[in-house]
């Protein structure tokens, strides 16, 4: 596959270029279509046994994710308040971290929600969704997915 002077032929250069383009395309597509959901639940301290939740709204929450989380918990029958400073009577603090990126439109790349014992700051449950562009979902759907996995795991 080389010429007489040891140089690669035009065919081998073409093959190399094809392999490179295919690898690049595969890498691009696989990174755009990746999704992962993970969660952790302390079965010895179930979140569902607690009554009073407080969603700690972070200052940059322009998408109102904190309110969506609160609404979702209320639908499940919990007593929920939202705000920046937790009251003394809160049993569980709910914190979240949403990451947004741009791909034609803004979309939520990841959402992580944590449940902590308000008195001791111990982690009771954590759930996370990570979805790249081709697997993107609306914020309410992702909130449902993230919280649903916590309570589904506890119900098992």
């Amino acid at each position: 596959m080389t010429t007489g002077d040891g140089q690669p032929t035009r065919d081998s250069a073409h093959t190399l270029k094809t392999v490179f383009v295919m690898l690049l395309a595969a890498a691009t597509l696989s990174s755009c279509g990746f999704s992962q959901q993970t969660h952790f639940v302390r079965t010895d301290r179930p979140v569902g046994d607690r009554e009073s939740f407080f969603v700690v709204i972070h200052p940059g929450d322009s998408w109102h994710i904190g309110r969506m989380i609160g609404d979702r918990l209320r639908r499940d029958g919990f007593e929920v308040a939202e705000g920046e400073t937790p009251p003394a009577e809160a049993q569980v603090l709910v914190t979240y971290e949403d990451r947004w990126v741009w791909d034609i439109t803004m979309y939520m790349l990841s959402l992580k929600v944590e449940f902590r014992d308000a008195a001791t700051n111990q982690l009771l449950a954590s759930s996370q969704s990570f979805r790249t562009s081709l697997r993107r979902r609306t914020p309410p759907t992702i909130v449902d997915e993230v919280l649903g996995s916590v309570f589904l795991e506890e119900a098992r």
Partner: protein, 182 residues
């Protein structure tokens, strides 16, 4: 052809290298200026345990990094024990006063360019104090991000006023064996 073979070989080698990253964290560095007041000389036991020893599979860059919570718990306990020894404490295996560091959970958010790692640890002292701490690290590599997170947890635990009170032997044991407020 030899050029394309070389490229494919290099790609395969880098993929394999990524898959076989060590599960052991690098040693945790606690800043020497971190001071503790207490009762140096009093024997203490420091143990690292895990809530769930399951090894986590963390995807990054098309490969999987294996994260072993047990090794991270050991590294955390070793770092905290060393920090106490450096400050004059006697750390032994079976002292009546014990500081337990329970590795609870790690989450890694795989970013496009940078990974973010969160590590959750519960510190429990033999006088009944229980408190949760979280460390956060961010780096191109998930492993480095988790090393940073672990170091941050260690500093937070040793900087906690209630842990200081325990080290200083200033608090009475909880009556009901429950959790002592910080």
């Amino acid at each position: 052809m030899s050029v394309s073979r070389f490229v494919l070989g290099a790609l395969a080698a880098s993929w394999l290298a990524g898959c076989t990253l060590t599960m052991t964290p690098r040693p945790v560095v606690i800043p020497p200026q971190l001071s503790l007041h207490g009762d140096p000389g009093r024997p203490l036991t420091v143990v690292g345990t895990v809530l769930d020893p399951k090894v986590l599979e963390i995807p990054q860059g098309g490969t999987t990094w294996l994260f072993d919570p047990a090794r991270y718990a050991e590294a955390l306990a070793a770092a905290v024990a060393q920090a106490l020894i450096d400050r004059g404490y006697r750390v032994t295996a079976d002292a009546p006063d014990e500081l337990e560091l329970i590795f609870v959970y790690a989450t890694v958010v795989p970013g496009v360019w940078r990974a973010v790692c969160f590590i959750d640890v519960t510190a429990a002292t033999s006088d009944g104090y229980v408190h949760g701490f979280q460390g956060q690290g961010e780096d191109v590599r998930a492993r480095t991000a988790c090393d940073q997170a672990l170091a941050q947890v260690a500093v937070k635990v040793l900087g906690d006023p209630a842990v200081h009170a325990f080290l200083a032997n200033e608090r009475q044991p909880a009556d009901d064996g429950g959790e002592v407020a910080p």
